[in-house]
């Protein structure tokens, strides 16, 4: 059986195609303005990597903020449900999932079967999401990757008080004018994001082991800050940004089987 999961994120669309439960194709493209067209392009790219026609896919499940904009979908699942199922497939011992995307952060408590027990989503605060790190790295004139790496060189904790990205950026500018070294500023930003995420995750309760998924998992500075803030080890699966799409593809298989 061939199924697909498509995660319509705020910044990127991720597609995973499964054949009898094994990944045979995946793709990641920018979401862009026309979400329906981008979804089709993402499915085409993943299909071409898998060496199949789209018509061969028996069930497509969409997730993510733009999941309603996928014309090819057969069903939908929330980001929370897809993230839980995808995580338990990759990290069976995970009981808390921290999912940080471009515009939202989520804390999810799950059981051994990947069923959601408790979840919290911060739907408003961009200072607890990836776009904040991106905008701050621009203020420091570096890429997000450099931003994450340079933050690891700092051993200084500078609290950032602003909750809003706009005010936080002006705080960063003030630190630059005060000739604060860039590594210290980068760490302050990573610590601020981690602190927002941690307070949300504490709402659902932290149970070991903790898995981190979503595109922001690639930012090593944030990962380090999150480990400090949670005071525990954090497991990151391979391809953490595809976990939601993987979960959606697994759910597509279950729904096809169960009719």
């Amino acid at each position: 059986m061939i199924t697909a999961g498509i995660d319509m994120g705020a910044k990127h669309i991720k597609v995973v195609i499964l054949k009898d439960g094994e990944v045979i194709g995946k793709s990641k493209i920018s979401t862009g303005f026309d979400q329906g067209a981008s979804a089709r392009k993402g499915l085409d790219e993943a299909g071409s990597q898998a060496g199949i026609e789209l018509s061969a896919i028996e069930h497509i499940t969409a997730t993510g903020a733009g999941r309603k904009s996928v014309p090819e979908k057969n069903s939908e699942v929330t980001e929370v449900g897809a993230g839980a199922v995808g995580t338990i497939r990759l990290i069976p011992e995970a009981r808390t999932v921290v999912d940080v995307g471009a515009e939202e952060g989520r804390g999810i408590k799950i059981d051994g079967a990947g069923k959601v027990i408790d979840f919290a989503v911060n739907e408003k605060c961009a200072a607890g999401a990836g776009s904040f790190a991106e905008s701050m790295s621009r203020a420091l004139e570096m890429t997000v990757r450099e931003f994450g790496e340079i933050s690891l060189k700092s051993e200084k904790t500078i609290p950032m008080n602003a909750q809003c990205t706009v005010f936080a950026e002006s705080e960063v500018v003030s630190l630059l004018h005060a000739q604060t070294p860039k590594p210290d500023i980068a760490r302050a930003v990573c610590d601020a994001i981690a602190s927002r995420i941690t307070s949300m995750v504490r709402r659902v309760g932290i149970e070991q082991k903790v898995a981190l998924i979503g595109g922001v998992s690639h930012n090593i500075g944030f990962v380090s800050s999150l480990k400090r803030a949670l005071n525990c080890e954090v497991i990151i699966p391979e391809d953490p940004d595809y976990v939601g799409a993987l979960g959606a593809a697994i759910i597509a298989g279950e729904r096809k089987t169960n009719g």
């Binding site: 408790d118 979840f119 989503v121 408003k124 605060c125 602003a162 659902v204």
Partner: protein, 93 residues
């Protein structure tokens, strides 16, 4: 499952928490009509259960939408919370 809908901002945490396992056992869904701002709806969740949820468009403004039900003094019981026979709905602020 406990679903927390809302957000944290500079002024505090604004979440409406719904225990969907308890919510399931209430076929009347009295909370939907009890809310004067009409922010609660019944959705089919990821497990095909019909449960109460905060409407998408209201989740980013709960502090302001719910303000009328929360005067600073002599606060009456919240209509949504008191309407729920199973006590499955609560506010964090």
């Amino acid at each position: 499952m406990i679903a927390n809908y809302g957000y944290t901002d500079g002024s505090g945490e604004y979440y409406i928490a719904i225990n969907t396992d308890d919510c399931l056992e209430c076929p009347q869904h009295l909370c939907v009509n009890a809310c004067p701002k009409n922010i609660i709806e019944i959705i089919e969740d990821d497990y095909d259960d019909l449960v109460a949820a905060v409407k998408d468009e209201s989740r980013k403004a709960l502090k302001y939408i719910c303000a009328d039900c929360k005067p600073s003094s002599e606060r009456p019981p919240l209509p949504c919370v008191s309407a729920c026979p199973n006590g499955s709905l609560s506010h964090t602020w």
